[in-house]
């Protein structure tokens, strides 16, 4: 027998007061404007994040049974999971090398167009196209480009007389990660190029003019004038690019699925595999990976922003 519900005993005065409060709330514009955003945000961002943290200290058994295991998932992750460490290594290589190449490449492309070449606007529109395409489209096209038999990479190598370099780019564990990185670079270079170009046009012209008067070579001009002056923009791009690459999932999943031999396994693809592909139905362990990795990403973002933008104020 259940205890009688307490709702019947609420005094009438309380109901009247709460109704009045509700009516008042409807007239409060702040609440009306914010309510939809806050509701959806709490329900589908805040709650899932908290639940992931909660899951990470449990093991989920079938039929929704949660077993509390404390930090055992984390201990297993750090001590007994070589695949996790492989994925960390791959993601780290991908993020560090990829980010530097991304921003440096974007800046160089922007400089090409900044050098007053003809048709600069048209080039930049074409160069930006890959940014708009989905990873599925880009991934499939590049799987074909890397194809051993008829891919354009091997064809060009053959045509150049470098047949010895022909390679199964995505099939060889030693080149697969780099091949995926090149594809990722190809997709995002246009993005960095546009932002660098906008920043270049915003530079005060007299500074560049002065550098030219001083007979400054273009490499010196780049290193001593342009890069320091673009510093805030470049730091911003570095952080953005780094975050994106630390979380890379789609492109790897589509092109290699983490293979061959874990050589392109990233942390995100590993989380996905542990959660949905391994048929263990345990969301606890992958949640632990996601929690650890997210904290690492956040730490890096804070660290990078602090370290790199320290000397933001330049004296001209």
């Amino acid at each position: 027998m259940m205890a009688p519900s307490k709702s019947t005993e609420i005094p009438a005065g309380w109901i009247r007061a709460s109704l009045a409060r509700a009516r008042q709330a409807c007239q409060n514009p702040v609440l009306v404007f914010l309510a939809p955003a806050l509701l959806i945000y709490t329900g589908f961002i805040v709650y899932p994040v908290l639940r992931t943290f909660y899951n990470s200290v449990h093991v989920l058994r079938p039929h929704n049974i949660l077993e509390f295991v404390g930090f055992r998932n984390f201990a297993e992750l750090f001590r007994k999971d070589p695949v996790f460490w492989t994925s960390v290594r791959n993601t780290a290589i991908f993020s560090v090398v990829g980010t530097i190449a991304d921003v440096a490449g974007g800046l160089l492309l922007a400089l090409c167009l900044f050098a007053k070449v003809p048709l600069a606007r048209a080039w930049r529109v074409v160069w930006f196209t890959p940014v708009l395409m989905s990873y599925v489209v880009v991934g499939i096209i590049w799987v074909w480009i890397y194809d051993y038999d008829w891919g354009v990479v091997n064809l060009v190598l053959h045509w150049l007389g470098l047949g010895a370099l022909e390679h199964s780019w995505l099939g060889d564990p030693s080149t697969a990660l780099w091949a995926v990185m090149v594809t990722h670079l190809w997709k995002w270079l246009g993005f960095n190029m546009i932002i660098c170009l906008a920043a270049l046009y915003a530079l005060p012209g007299e500074v560049l003019g002065a550098a030219e008067l001083d007979n400054c070579g273009w490499i010196a001009k780049l290193v001593y004038v342009i890069v320091p002056m673009l510093r805030p923009t470049l730091v911003n791009l570095l952080v953005l690019s780094f975050i994106g690459k630390m979380m890379i999932f789609d492109l790897v999943w589509i092109m290699t699925g983490g293979g061959p031999l874990w050589s392109t396994e990233t942390v995100s693809t590993y989380v996905y595999k542990r959660a949905f592909d391994w048929n263990t139905f345990d969301l606890g362990y992958p949640s632990a990976i996601a929690v650890v990795w997210s904290i690492i990403i956040l730490l890096f973002v804070v660290l990078m922003t602090r370290l790199l933008s320290q000397r933001e104020k330049l004296e001209f």
Binding site: P36, I40, V117, I194, I297
Partner: protein
């Protein structure tokens, strides 16, 4: 004479520009040509131009390979989610930019912290939560998740813009007897239209291309969005390069068409979140 030498010195630069243009644009031209060629033709010579234009491949893909369904699913999900996130985000941004209330900084921090939440932290429990709410494997569930994940970026861009609208306008409107909602509807929205257009573009492209949430949250073939549909087809017909190319083209075409007409707007929209 000097001009001629100056041009000669720039030849490597121009050559590089042409090469890079081929590298970025070429693959799309290649896919476009393959999309109207049959697979045997492609295997005979992958890089030949189309001799006969097999437009019927698009019809085949659309009906027999289910691309029609995928396309409409994508359209429904993206249009609804973009509309919802724009309205909800604009209301929140207007509120954060215009009102001084207790807890404003907390609310602002809470919503903007969504900018740095990695999807991995959400995806596993969203799977559980949508199962609990019976929204798993439904377009509605995916739409809600899309709105939630794009909210932070939308509010961030819009708030920055709305905050620059001069306060005098709002004071004048207030004196004319506009209600709070009228002020939002008749002042903030029309003036902020450019910014709203920017977020619409950005959200549209991101969601049209979205893969991770869709692959986790949808399972039925009839509910797949376009990226999932292409992956699914690819998995089943690895060697049918011609049809896969047609499928790719169905996903690429709308974006390319929009880009041809609104290239500057789209470039501006896509890069909006990165310039501070």
């Amino acid at each position: 004479m000097t001009l001629w030498i100056a041009h000669l010195r720039r030849t490597p630069l121009l050559l590089f520009i042409v090469l890079y243009t081929i590298a970025t644009g070429g693959p799309f031209v290649w896919v476009a040509s393959m999309s109207v060629r049959t697979t045997p033709e492609i295997f005979a010579n992958p890089y030949a131009l189309p001799v006969h234009l097999h437009w019927n491949k698009f019809m085949d893909a659309w009906t027999t390979s289910n691309y029609g369904t995928y396309f409409w699913n994508s359209t429904i999900v993206v249009v609804t989610a973009v509309a919802a996130v724009t309205v909800i985000g604009a209301m929140a941004a207007h509120c954060l930019a215009r009102y001084r209330f207790r807890g404003r900084r907390t609310v602002r921090f809470l919503i903007l912290s969504g900018l740095v939440v990695p999807p991995q932290l959400l995806i596993l429990s969203l799977f559980q939560i949508l199962l609990d709410y019976r929204l798993y494997n439904s377009l509605t569930g995916l739409i809600i998740v899309y709105v939630a994940t794009q909210l932070a970026m939308t509010v961030y861009i819009l708030e920055g813009f709305f905050a620059q609208i001069p306060q005098d306008l709002f004071d004048a409107a207030r004196m004319d007897g506009y209600s709070d909602f009228e002020i939002f509807w008749r002042i903030t929205l029309p003036i902020g239209l450019a910014a709203i257009f920017t977020t619409v573009t950005l959200n549209f492209i991101i969601l049209w291309n979205e893969f991770l949430y869709a692959v986790v949250l949808l399972t039925d073939d009839t509910k797949r969005t376009l990226p999932l549909g292409i992956m699914h087809f690819m998995g089943g017909h690895q060697l049918d390069v011609g049809m896969i190319a047609t499928g790719l083209m169905i996903a690429i075409l709308p974006v390319i068409l929009l880009y041809a007409f609104f290239s500057e707007t789209m470039i501006k929209g896509m890069t909006a979140g990165a310039v501070r």
